[in-house]
């Protein structure tokens, strides 16, 4: 029997040379006369150990090695890689590594383990069990499970998923839609991408359950064009699901139809805002809609639409499989379940950590993240993407909890944590926040469109030392206008990184340059 070897196809692993390592393994195995089956899996999330390879030993255990570059392969094979022999790159079983063992992997349970586009592998690891249970429930019962689980929108807004679903369920319309927001534009976030590349069938199952719950027969995954690898994985998985009867006019012989399609975005951050995304899907400029009406009532093409983030939808299968109580028992306060947290920026051990809500920033940054990659002290972290506040060391003990973060003027958002060492210039980061808003503003409302450009100019004057105090006051006024006067979160929340930088790092604005 051929020896089983696993190596990631995740974009981050590819960025560090996984394809080259895979090719070198094939060459080395052929030279040695060893027959191997190389399975491309998702990433286990330990990005600093990519390219990570796992070799199945004689007892069927998967023994990991990493990081293994193509140049390491010949030596590693000579040292006995195919017998899972000791080596300085040998890590043992991933499940035994503390970084991994201390996580609570619910949504990401299969990512890095299974062949992402194999229906058989998916089913063998518990896939479609949630869907199977959903077939035996009424729409209202499915919605009830999601409501009771306490699941809140993982895209960042944290709105209860079940309430969105209930609103769509209550609408009477011959055509309803399920739209997946896969426009993961926040810097420092990649959990959607990893899930779509590592377990796309889980997202498909979540969307199928959503369709069953509210009577929607069409689904769209709106994927940002910066994610070509995720696009490939999704299309392969959709095709595999269709061949096996999980998608099409008669899903699993239930008599219910569900069609699913991937649509590519075109490089507009604003499409992460759900109404802008719907405009884009309809083929228009992605300008934010006024609400009401809510998308749940008049969404895509004016029809009732469930629109949820990738992780929200991919968390649904386990909720249906294990029951609402199982999921709700993780977490703290009103933040129930787990959050796939992304450790990014200047950290020694960056990657994906799925934990129940309640874990502190400090635990994430030091216990998991290992401190800075540069070896210098961490000075600031930005949580929740480009619209999230910058937090100083004194706030590192804040637990990851929607309400705890709101209380300190910050946001959990999509769970991305970007760490900066002490070389960061916070006045420049504040200017960048305004610059980004100016680049990405859809232009519909004035506070965002004009305010962001004025914001860059005012910060430039502060950096140049022109009437510093007057301009700081001006900047604060401008932020207040943007926060309260903007139509959506882009203009409305850009003040968070700006104001938090001024509040926590005033020295960077005061010093002469």
């Amino acid at each position: 029997m051929a020896l089983r070897i696993y190596i990631s196809r995740d974009a981050a692993a590819q960025a560090l040379g996984a394809d080259e390592t895979a090719a070198a393994l094939q060459v080395a195995a052929a030279a040695k006369g060893t027959s191997i089956t190389l399975t491309r899996v998702g990433s286990r999330g330990m990005v600093w150990l990519e390219p990570l390879i796992e070799v199945e030993d004689a007892s069927g255990q998967r023994i990991a090695y990493g990081p293994v570059t193509a140049d390491d392969v010949p030596g590693l094979v000579q040292a006995g890689l195919f017998d899972a022999a000791p080596h300085r790159l040998r890590l043992g079983r991933v499940e035994d590594m503390p970084w991994f063992a201390q996580q609570e992997r619910l949504t990401f349970a299969r990512v890095g383990v299974i062949d992402p586009v194999s229906v058989d592998d998916y089913v063998a690891h518990g896939g479609f069990a949630g869907l199977k249970r959903a077939f035996g429930l009424s729409g209202a019962e499915i919605v009830g499970e999601v409501l009771e689980s306490g699941l809140r929108g993982r895209g960042g807004a944290a709105f209860p998923t079940g309430i969105k679903w209930r609103t769509v369920l209550e609408q009477h319309s011959p055509q309803k839609y399920v739209v997946c927001n896969a426009d993961e534009g926040d810097s420092g976030t990649f959990s959607d991408r990893m899930l779509m590349e590592g377990d796309p069938l889980c997202l498909i199952e979540g969307m199928l359950i959503a369709g069953l719950a509210v009577g929607a027969t069409r689904g769209y995954i709106y994927l940002r064009c910066e994610y070509p690898h995720a696009g490939h994985a999704l299309r392969e998985a959709i095709e595999a699901a269709r061949v096996r009867g999980y998608l099409g006019p008669d899903v699993c012989g239930s008599g219910k139809a569900f069609e699913l399609e991937v649509r590519m975005g075109a490089g507009a951050y604003i499409c992460g805002e759900e109404t802008a995304l719907l405009e884009s899907l309809e083929g228009k400029r992605a300008e934010v809609r006024y609400r009401p009406p809510l998308p749940a009532i008049k969404g895509l093409f004016g029809e009732p639409t469930i629109i949820n983030n990738v992780i929200s939808l991919a968390s649904v299968p386990i909720i249906l499989e294990r029951g609402a109580a199982y999921y709700r028992d993780f977490g703290m306060g009103r933040s129930r379940g787990t959050l796939p947290i992304q450790l990014a920026g200047n950290l020694k051990r960056g990657g994906l950590v799925e934990k129940a809500f309640g874990v502190t920033l400090r635990e994430l940054l030091y216990d998991f993240g290992g401190g800075s990659a540069s070896g210098r002290p961490l000075r600031a972290v930005q949580v929740g993407g480009p619209l999230g506040a910058y937090l100083p060391e004194s706030q590192f003990d804040t637990p990851l909890d929607y309400e705890a973060f709101t209380a300190i003027g910050a946001l959990v958002g999509h769970g991305g944590i970007v760490a900066f060492d002490d070389t960061v210039d916070m006045a420049r980061m504040a200017r960048y926040a305004m610059e980004f808003c100016a680049i990405e503003s859809c232009g519909k409302c004035t506070p965002c469109r004009i305010g962001s450009t004025r914001g860059v100019e005012v910060i430039n004057r502060i950096l140049l030392g022109n009437e510093k105090q007057a301009n700081l006051t001006q900047l604060e006024n401008l932020c207040e206008t943007m926060q309260h006067g903007s139509l959506c979160g882009l203009g409305g929340m850009t003040p968070f990184p700006v104001m938090s930088a001024i509040k926590h790092f005033p020295g960077d604005f005061a010093r002469d340059r």
Binding site: A11, A15, W48, S187, T189, A266, G267, V424, F436
Partner: protein, 158 residues
């Protein structure tokens, strides 16, 4: 030149036929045109507008709204450099500087040899191993100026 124009027309007609009857077809059509022809010209805009019963202004409005769509022909390869916060935390400005210097252009420009178009990206989703660069669809992590020089040399030799 004439032959290319004819090829483009044939491609465009094929793309329009393939997308007939689709819900919200404009973005998929624009993607298909750019993937096939490399850019979206005023002539494409006019033909697409006619096929979808839209005004040229409406189609142009969409093309110009999205950063990804281009109205001029790009170089042979497109180099995207991530400028977002996670890459800034790993000093991507040094990588950006190197790219500008070596290619002799700023964002949106194409190197004199026609090989590379330089574009800014705002997150490529590789935030645990920045700075990140993408050449066409090939992603690279931990791209220091030295590594970028080696990457560009590799693409030149292809």
């Amino acid at each position: 030149m004439v032959a290319t124009e004819l090829d483009n027309d044939a491609n465009l007609e094929r793309i329009l036929a393939e997308h007939a009857g689709m819900e919200g077809p404009l973005l998929p059509i624009l993607h298909a045109v750019q993937d096939t022809v490399g850019h979206i010209s005023p002539a494409h805009v006019a033909r697409i507008a006619k096929a979808l019963n839209l005004s040229r202004a409406e189609v142009h409005g969409v093309v110009s709204f999205y950063h990804y769509f281009r109205q001029q022909e790009p170089g042979r390869h497109v180099v995207h450099i991530c400028r977002a916060e996670a890459c800034q935390a790993m000093h991507c400005e040094q990588t950006e500087q190197h790219a500008r210097r070596e290619l002799g252009v700023d964002y949106g420009g194409t190197s004199a040899d026609g090989l590379f178009t330089l574009e800014a990206a705002y997150c490529l989703g590789n935030c645990a191993a920045g700075p990140t660069v993408m050449v066409d669809e090939k992603l690279y992590g931990r791209v220091t100026p030295e590594r970028l020089a080696a990457i560009l040399a590799d693409w030149r030799s292809r």
